[in-house]
Symmetry: C2
Subunit: 148 residues, 2 copies
DNA sequence: TAGTATTATATGACAGTGACATATAACTGT
DNA sequence: ACAGTTATATGTCACTGTCATATAATACTA
């Protein structure tokens, strides 16, 4: 009767808000936004939809987080925002990447390549310990492990 | 006059404590500890040294963070800690992985594989936009970009 | 013996990020 | 008039990492 109280304890302690799994997308929002803006200016809502389409961030994007991040990136000089005049149509903030933003994006690419190497180091160790049967073993009672 | 006030703004705004680069090791401490403990019980200080040796976490490990993480993992039932009696030698908390911990480790391995795929999606897009010259281009003024 | 370093664990304060909820406008469709 | 969509914004909270500091006991060394 291990953790029969509505889900494994490492899955959030109750379901939501993180838990023991860091989201797979940690730290991906900013570089993803930079990447999309490197292809052309867009406003926040459009970026949100694009992130879903491109599957750069699985599991959808938090809207509030997105706008906050854009604001901070603007404050840091990574992007430039242009507020639409209060004319017809809903107000939009169209963002354009700056040279600094492009430079950071290049560094992000290098950093992410390093990250894959770290993950590979981990996975190599893991497979060395657990063998090739990395998946859930047959002895593992197949409970509702709704990962992701 | 791009950010000539003591370093690029995306580098921490002043130097330390994160900044625009999430550390490459975000979210790696817990799975790394689980992996080491899957090979055998150890106490915190030993784990700290091992993490440095195995290079599972580049840049060293924060000691306070390590102990806090171990405590939380114990609270969650991922590891079991045994406090040494107050006899000779310094007190030690020897941790042993639990079945739940092993199960989580397996899921972590799968999640990290997914993460590499996400990173590859990003990098593919990046190279599609910027071409093969992913590195810092020749036009990029080579400022003190002390990445990492 | 006193002072310092090492081993080992622990806590406090802070910033960055993501998750969830909610608020706000303006426009669109019925 | 009412609800839905588009679009932006803020508040609160949890988790992680970073830096600083506290605490003991042991080991070394002058």
């Amino acid at each position: 009767m291990h953790h029969g109280f509505g889900g494994p304890p490492w899955h959030g302690g109750g379901g939501r808000r993180g838990g023991w799994f860091m989201p797979l997308t940690w730290g991906f929002l900013q570089p993803s936004l930079l990447l999309l803006l490197a292809e052309g200016p867009q406003h926040g809502y459009s970026l949100m939809e694009e992130l879903g389409r491109r599957k750069l961030l699985s599991g959808g994007v938090d809207v509030g987080n997105l706008y906050r991040t854009l604001h901070k990136m603007e404050m840091a000089g990574l992007v430039e925002g242009v507020r639409s005049e209060p004319g017809p149509g809903p107000k939009r903030n169209v963002y354009r990447i700056t040279p600094q933003g492009k430079e950071l994006l290049q560094h992000w690419a290098g950093a992410l390549e390093q990250r894959t190497q770290m993950i590979n180091t981990f996975l190599d160790e893991f497979h060395r310990v657990f063998g090739a049967d990395a998946g859930i073993g047959p002895d593992s009672d197949s409970e509702d492990v709704d990962l992701l």
